[in-house]
C-alpha cells in the first residue's frame, strides 16, 4: 500500500433499497490528481463522504492514508482536508475569522495559524480583503478561500467535492492551477466534477454511472483505448434530421450531437464516410464534412454508458 494514498475495495453504500454506490474499487497513487467523473446523482459525493469518514459504508473497505475509514476515523481526519460542494464557509464571518476558526478547529497552534493565514490570503488572492465578510466575496474567491481553509492543516490528501460548480471559466482555470500546485508539493488530490473538460487536468480518471465505475485510466488512455471504432465528425446544415436518419442504419454504431456537429461511430473510416454521404444525399441533406476525430472524453463516456445500458438513457446520463 506504500505507494497508494487511497485504496478502495468493493465499497458499497445503500440508502434503504437504493444503492448509491455499488461495489466500487480503485486505488489512488500518492501525489496524483484523481478525478471522479459522473453526472449528478451518480454516487460521487456519497463516495467522497464515505472516504472522509462522514458516512458509514454499507459494505466493502477503504483506507485513506493507511487509515480504515470505518474504524480509524480520527486518523482519517488528521490526514485529510475536505472541501464540500457548497464551499462551506461562515458567510457571516470575515475572511480572517474563517481562517482562524478553521485553524482552531484543526487544533493548530496560534503561530502556525498566523503563518498559514498569510499563505491562504496569498494563494486565494485575498490580500487587502481580510476584513470583508465572506458573503460579500465573489464565488471564485469563496471557492479559493474554502480550498485554503480545507488545507490549512497541511493534509496529505485533499478531497474536493465539485469544487468548480457554478464558478466562471477564468476562476475554474485558476483553481485548477492551485490543484496542480498542491499535487506538485506531493499532496494527493481527489476531485469530483461533472465538467468533462476538467478531467483533462487529472492524472487518473474514473467514470462513475449509477453507482458503478464504468471506465478508468488516464485521459489519454481513455480516449485511445476505450473506443476501438473510428468516430467521424459530421458537419451538415440539418444535423438533427441527419442524426435521426443515421441512427436507424445498422452500420452506425453510435451517434451524438456536440454543439453544431454530429459524432458518428462507425466500423470503418472510409466505408463509413461513403455510406453517410450516400444516405444523407438520398434525403436531400447536404454533407459539408465527415472527418475522423480523436474521441473526446464525452464520446468515451457516452460510449461506455450505452454499452452498459444497451443504448438507452445515455443522453440523460451525460454529465
Amino acid at each position: 500500500m506504500a505507494d497508494n494514498a487511497i485504496e478502495v475495495k468493493a465499497l458499497t453504500k445503500k440508502f434503504g433499497g437504493f444503492t448509491a454506490v455499488d461495489a466500487v474499487s480503485f486505488e489512488v497513487g500518492r501525489g496524483r490528481i484523481f478525478g471522479f467523473l459522473g453526472a449528478n446523482g451518480a454516487g460521487k459525493s456519497t463516495t467522497i463522504r464515505m472516504l472522509c469518514g462522514l458516512l458509514d459504508p454499507t459494505s466493502g473497505t477503504a483506507t485513506v492514508g493507511g487509515f480504515d475509514v470505518r474504524s480509524e476515523v480520527e486518523g482519517v481526519k488528521r490526514t485529510i482536508g475536505y472541501m464540500s460542494q457548497k464551499f462551506s464557509l461562515y458567510e457571516d464571518l470575515t475572511v480572517v475569522e474563517n481562517i482562524r476558526f478553521f485553524g482552531g478547529a484543526y487544533g493548530l497552534a496560534k503561530r502556525t495559524v498566523d503563518s498559514r493565514l498569510a499563505w491562504v490570503l496569498g494563494m486565494a488572492g485575498l490580500k487587502g480583503r481580510e476584513k470583508s465578510l465572506t458573503r460579500t466575496l465573489s464565488v471564485g474567491w469563496k471557492q479559493r478561500l474554502a480550498l485554503g481553509c480545507a488545507v490549512l492543516h497541511e493534509p496529505r490528501i485533499v478531497f474536493l467535492d465539485e469544487p468548480t460548480g457554478g464558478v466562471d471559466p477564468a476562476s475554474r482555470r485558476r483553481f485548477w492551477e492551485l490543484i496542480n500546485d498542491l499535487s506538485e508539493r506531493g499532496i494527493t488530490v481527489f476531485v469530483t466534477t461533472h465538467y468533462l473538460d476538467e478531467a483533462e487536468y487529472c492524472n487518473d480518471i474514473r467514470l462513475i454511472h449509477a453507482g458503478r465505475i464504468v471506465a478508468g485510466g488516464s485521459p489519454q488512455e481513455l480516449k485511445t483505448k476505450v473506443i476501438g471504432n473510428p468516430i467521424l465528425e459530421v458537419l451538415s446544415d440539418r444535423i438533427v434530421d441527419a442524426m435521426e436518419i443515421l441512427q436507424k442504419e445498422p452500420w452506425v454504431l453510435e451517434t451524438s450531437i456536440f454543439g453544431t456537429s454530429l459524432h458518428v461511430s462507425v466500423a470503418d473510416e472510409e466505408d463509413g464516410r461513403r455510406l453517410i454521404r450516400e444516405r444523407l444525399a438520398r434525403e436531400g441533406i447536404a454533407l459539408l464534412r465527415a472527418d475522423r476525430i480523436m474521441p473526446s472524453l464525452e464520446d468515451v463516456f457516452i460510449h461506455k454508458i450505452e454499452e452498459q445500458s444497451g443504448g438507452a438513457g445515455a443522453e440523460e446520463a451525460r454529465p
Partner: protein, 389 residues
C-alpha cells in the same frame, strides 16, 4: 474528559459569539423580546377584577336602599355607571357591555328590613367571561353579606342586645402575595415561559443552520468533537439568556414590585440548570431536523404550549384531570416555575426546592447528553466508532 481534550472549545465559543453579534436581529430577539413579553403579559394578563361597571335598579328609593347603593359607590371594585328606574333597562346596557353587573333592590326593601322579613336583592352578572364574572359575583356577595351583618347587629343593638358578637369572625390573611396581585404570580411564570421559548428556539436554529450551509460536514472532518461543539454553542447562549433573565427580574422588580425574597445564588442556580436544559433541548431539536423551518416548528411546539398550559404558569396544575397532571411531570418548566415562585415569592431555601432542582439537573444532563450523542452520528447513520487520538 481532560481539559486538553477540549482544546477545540475556545474557537467554537469565539465563532458563536461573533456570529451572534453579527446577527443583530437575533440578538435583539433574545435580549429584548423577554422584556417586551413581560410588559405585554404583565399588564395585559391581569386576573385582578377591579372597577367592574355596575348598574343599580333601585325600586325602593328609600334612605336604606340608597345607603346600600353607597356601599357599592365607595369601593374600588365597582364603578357605579347608572341608577336605573326599571329592571328592563339592564338588558341593553349589559348587551352593549356598558355594565358587567347589576344590582336590583326591590320595592319595599326598607319596609321589609324593618319588619324583619328578609328582602331578597337580585344580583345579575355577565358570565360571558367566566373568570371575571365569578369574581364580580363574589365581590357583590361579600358586600351584601357585610351590609346584612351590619344591619343585623344594628337591629339587635336597638333591641338592647349591645354585647352581641357573631359566632364566627373569619380573619383571612393572604401570605406571599397579600394584595393578591396577578403580577406577583405571573412574573416568575413569565420568566420560565420566556426563557424556555427563546432559548430553545434560538439554539434550535444554530446547528440546523450549520447543516443547511454545509459547514456541519466541515466541522465533522475537523478535530472538533461533538461535546466541544455542543458546549461551545451553549456557552454564548447561556450567557446571553442569563442576561435576558436578569432584565426580566429587574423589570419585575421595578414595574411590578416583585422582589426576590429568597437567596439570589439559589435563584441563579435554578436559572442555570433550567437554561442548560432548555439549550440542550434546542440543540437536540436542531440535531434531529434538517431545515430551519422544521426546527422552528419543533421548538415552538415543544416549548410554547407545554410551558404555557402545563407548567402551572396560568392554569393551576391541581385543577387539571389526573391524566393531564401526570403529563405535567414531563414539563421542565413545571419544576423551574415551582422553584422560582418558592424562591422569589416565598423566600424558600434549598431545603424546600431541592426536589425541583434535582429534576432540572436531570433534564439538563439528559438533553445535553442525548444531543451530544446524536451529533456524534452522521445523517442518521449508525453511530461512528471512534479511535483514540
Amino acid at each position: 474528559m481532560s481539559l486538553l481534550a477540549l482544546r477545540c472549545l475556545r474557537p467554537v465559543i469565539k465563532k458563536e459569539f461573533r456570529q451572534i453579534s453579527r446577527d443583530a436581529r437575533s440578538l435583539m430577539f433574545m435580549i429584548s423580546l423577554p422584556a417586551f413579553m413581560l410588559l405585554m403579559f404583565g399588564y395585559a394578563l391581569n386576573f385582578d377584577v377591579k372597577h367592574i361597571p355596575l348598574a343599580v335598579v333601585d325600586e325602593d328609593g328609600s334612605r336604606t336602599s340608597r345607603d346600600l347603593v353607597d356601599k357599592f359607590r365607595t369601593t374600588e371594585y365597582f364603578d357605579l355607571k347608572a341608577v336605573l328606574p326599571k329592571r328592563a333597562a339592564i338588558d341593553p346596557l349589559m348587551a352593549r357591555e356598558d355594565i358587567r353587573a347589576a344590582l336590583v333592590i326591590p320595592a319595599r326593601f326598607a319596609d321589609d328590613l324593618l319588619a324583619g322579613r328578609s328582602p331578597s336583592v337580585q344580583v345579575i352578572v355577565d358570565g360571558s367571561n367566566a373568570m371575571s364574572g365569578t369574581t364580580a359575583a363574589g365581590y357583590v356577595g361579600a358586600i351584601l353579606q357585610s351590609y346584612s351583618q351590619a344591619i343585623t347587629l344594628e337591629g339587635l343593638a336597638r333591641r338592647g342586645f349591645t354585647d352581641v358578637s357573631l359566632p364566627l369572625a373569619p380573619e383571612v390573611r393572604v401570605w406571599y402575595n397579600p394584595e393578591l396581585r396577578s403580577a406577583k404570580f405571573l412574573v416568575p411564570g413569565l420568566m420560565a415561559f420566556i426563557l424556555m421559548v427563546i432559548v430553545t428556539v434560538s439554539t434550535a436554529f444554530s446547528i440546523v443552520r450549520e447543516k443547511e450551509r454545509g459547514t456541519m460536514d466541515q466541522i465533522r472532518v475537523s478535530s472538533i468533537r461533538p461535546l466541544e461543539l455542543v458546549l461551545g454553542k451553549m456557552v454564548p447562549y447561556v450567557a446571553i439568556s442569563l442576561g435576558s433573565a436578569h432584565l426580566v427580574l429587574l423589570l419585575g422588580q421595578v414595574l411590578f414590585g416583585v422582589g426576590i425574597k429568597g437567596s439570589y445564588p439559589l435563584l441563579l442556580l435554578a436559572m442555570l440548570l433550567f437554561l442548560t436544559g432548555a439549550l440542550g433541548q434546542g440543540l437536540l431539536i436542531s440535531a434531529v431536523t434538517r431545515t430551519q423551518q422544521v426546527a422552528f416548528l419543533f421548538a415552538i411546539l415543544t416549548t410554547m404550549l407545554p410551558t404555557f398550559i402545563l407548567s402551572g404558569f396560568v392554569f393551576p396544575i391541581r385543577n387539571m384531570p389526573a391524566a393531564v397532571q401526570a403529563v405535567t411531570y414531563l414539563v421542565p418548566a413545571r419544576y423551574f416555575l415551582a422553584s422560582l415562585r418558592a424562591i422569589i415569592l416565598k423566600g424558600a431555601g434549598i431545603g424546600a426546592v431541592w426536589p425541583q432542582l434535582l429534576f432540572l439537573t436531570g433534564f439538563a444532563v439528559l438533553s445535553l447528553g442525548v444531543s451530544a450523542a446524536r451529533l456524534g452520528r452522521g445523517d442518521g447513520e449508525r453511530p461512528r466508532r471512534r479511535t483514540g487520538a
